[in-house]
């Protein structure tokens, strides 16, 4: 038998053609278009400090979006993330009143996030309840606790060192939040695309039963993803609380929808099974650029929501329209 080897492609298109037609290319083009448009529409856009300020519009949401992307790829969802942010912030505020140090405040924020994630995870994986129902419930539950604790009042008086996480700069215009966003993007990219765990996430999302029979511990994967999402909400809560320097029960209200929008805009299939982290990263930039650019033109927030909604539908519909037209 001869030992000649021949490369047998597993796809019909070459890798380059695939990349060119991919979602991320389309999204990247949209991002570049928005950037160019903004630069021409407003004389204030191309300024390093202004752009740096603008990153705060999306960094906290994007941190949660990374974990949410994995969760949605695995076929589950967590709508309670904004409420986890509120509850973690309330816990940190209460601890700050007792004189906790910045380090212990961060730990408290992360632990509360993890506990909330674990609570969601147990309800979904052990009790077998649908995640959308569970997390709509915990969305009210977690924020409700914040409202009971705080009512009309607010927690303030965070220690001086705590403000670094939301207001500090690592180098020049690069804020701590932005650097953390980059590090987390890299971390989640590696986790999803280069590890066995990442492959398991795709397998669970595509066919949970088949994954189970292939020896993947489906419930364990899901539970870990809920934990991760809770943890990321905790991290986002630390950043947001530090940036605001105060906690009100309405903190982060409505954030969950923006996070899910970011994930779907990033090309993650809302039904699970496909999607990737680079897409979510670009989507975060697109949403940040759109809101900041429109803000510079003093477009009211309501109109901004309409534009984001239109963008979401447009970007999702475009590839489908193209393929229909080709036929």
């Amino acid at each position: 038998m001869s030992t000649t080897e021949r490369y047998i492609p597993d796809r019909l298109q070459s890798p380059w053609a695939r990349r060119l037609r991919s979602w991320e290319t389309l999204l990247l083009a949209v991002a570049v278009a928005i950037f160019t448009f903004n630069a021409f529409a407003s004389p204030y856009f191309l300024n390093a400090w202004n752009l740096s300020d603008a990153t705060f519009n999306f960094t906290e949401k994007a941190m949660i979006a990374f974990a949410m992307a994995l969760l949605i790829i695995a076929g589950e969802i967590d709508l309670s993330v904004a409420s986890i942010v509120a509850l973690a912030s309330t816990a940190m505020g209460a601890a700050a009143q007792l004189g906790a140090s910045p380090t212990s405040l961060v730990l408290i924020g992360l632990v509360v996030g993890l506990l909330c994630g674990a609570f969601n995870g147990v309800l979904v994986t052990v009790m077998g309840l649908p995640s959308i129902v569970v997390t709509i419930g915990t969305m009210s539950l977690f924020r409700g606790i914040s409202y009971i604790v705080l009512g009309d009042t607010a927690y303030g008086g965070y220690p001086a060192g705590f403000s670094f996480f939301g207001q500090g700069y690592v180098w020049w215009v690069f804020s701590f939040e932005f650097v953390l966003f980059c590090v987390l993007a890299l971390g989640f990219g590696v986790l999803l695309h280069l590890t066995n765990f990442g492959r398991a996430v795709y397998a669970v999302g595509n066919n949970a039963t088949a994954a189970l029979f292939s020896g993947i511990r489906v419930n364990r994967v899901k539970f870990i993803l809920f934990l991760l999402t809770g943890l990321m909400a905790g991290i986002a809560s630390v950043c947001l609380t530090s940036r605001l320097g105060s906690t009100r029960p309405s903190i982060g209200f409505g954030m969950e929808l923006e996070v899910v929008t970011m994930v779907v805009l990033g090309g993650v299939n809302i039904l699970g099974g496909s999607g990737n982290i680079p897409g979510v990263v670009i989507a975060a930039f697109v949403m940040g650029l759109v809101t900041f650019g429109l803000g510079l033109l003093n477009v009211p927030g309501i109109v901004m929501s309409i534009v984001i909604g239109g963008l979401l539908i447009g970007v999702i519909a475009l590839p489908r329209l193209c393929s229909m037209w080709r036929r």
Binding site: S42, P43, Y44, F45, N47, N50, D53, A54, F56, N57, A154, G156, S163, Q167, L240, R243, L244, G245, S246, R248, S250, I251, G252, F253, G254, T291, F292, G295, L296, N298, P300, G301, I302, M304, S305
Partner: protein
């Protein structure tokens, strides 16, 4: 000239044109509200537009987040800083959370004042209160006394016994009672800002003091409940309910006559005065304790030791203007 050079020159000229057209001589004042789509703030914007028209060279940027969150307001403030507006006049969702962003604005030479809902001292140059405790205390007793030419008994229906604002107003009211001879304060009761408890307390007042001429309720919940109690008891015309209320809620009581007149701040005047103050400070007036700064047709604002000022007496609403304001807030 190379192509690149040509492009660069065009861009430079374009940028210069844009820059000049934006800054020319127009003073750009941003009116930042708690959230867009709230009647009270839309009315304040009306006042700001009126002030801009009067001043001539002013552009008003009326803006705010979609939800009443501090983080939404910070996004708005950041984009205003980026645009280099001349002044920001804000009604804050959180006095502390917006302070760092506003401090950054002041560092870049932007005039910052707060109005309606204040900002922590380090985050603004001055704060404009719609009114002050002495002015409110005087207004509520005057509203009752105006319709009691022969004097008589009045009672106060307040919020809770520990409500800071209401207690201060009632104290201020008691201080000026001497100016209204013949008017006796017979009782102060507390409805705890609950509609049903306020209603029962008003009923109790009518039963205990048959000669009662007026009920003064310096709370929006109390005035509404008391006017309902008076209407239900068939005592319209005998007992006048007055105090602080919202035009949208009180329109019915004013129509029926249970309430002849009541007071609350006028958002149009507030937006007007905030714009005038922003303009004057941006043009060089110094905001410091004791300073007097002009507010156009609203007179002058005198700053206290915390750089806070009161605009005016609360505005009186009666049959003549309730129709206009009931749809506003």
């Amino acid at each position: 000239m190379s192509v690149i050079k040509k492009v660069l020159t065009t861009v430079a000229i374009g940028a210069a044109l844009m820059g000049t057209s934006a800054s020319a001589d127009t003073t750009r004042i941003a009116l930042v509200v708690k959230a867009l789509g709230i009647g009270f703030f839309e009315a304040a914007n009306k006042g700001a537009q009126e002030a801009a028209k009067e001043l001539g060279d002013v552009e008003i940027i009326y803006t705010g987040p979609t939800d009443t969150t501090a983080e939404g307001q910070i996004e708005v403030i950041n984009s205003l800083i980026a645009q280099g507006v001349d002044a920001i006049a804000i009604s804050a969702n959180d006095p502390d959370a917006v302070a760092p962003a506003l401090k950054k604005a002041m560092d870049r030479g932007i005039t910052v004042i707060s109005w309606d809902s204040g900002v922590a001292k380090e985050g603004r140059q001055m704060h404009l209160n719609p009114s002050s405790a002495p002015l409110i205390g005087n207004t509520i007793i005057k509203l009752a006394a105006d319709h009691m030419p022969d004097g008589g008994d009045v009672a106060v229906l307040s919020a809770t016994a520990t409500s800071t604002n209401q207690n201060i107003w009632i104290d201020e009211m008691k201080k000026v009672m001497g100016n209204y001879p013949g008017v006796n304060l017979v009782a102060t009761v507390y409805g705890d800002d609950l509609a049903d408890k306020s209603y029962r307390e008003a009923q109790g007042l009518m039963a205990t003091y048959p000669d009662l001429k007026a009920i003064i309720a310096p709370t929006t919940v109390g005035i509404l409940a008391a006017s309902q109690a008076v209407t239900d008891a068939g005592k319209i015309g005998q007992i006048n309910v007055t105090g602080l209320g919202l035009p949208s809620e009180m329109a019915g009581a004013v129509e029926s006559g249970a309430t002849i007149s009541f007071a609350i701040w006028n958002p149009i005047d507030l937006g007007y005065a905030a714009t005038m103050l922003s303009y004057n400070i941006a043009k060089g007036a110094t905001a410091e304790p004791g300073a007097k700064i002009g507010m156009g047709r609203m007179g002058e604002a005198t700053l206290d030791e915390n750089n806070e000022a009161a605009m005016s007496d609360p505005f009186t609403y009666d049959k003549s203007n309730i129709e206009e304001f009931k749809s506003v807030f």
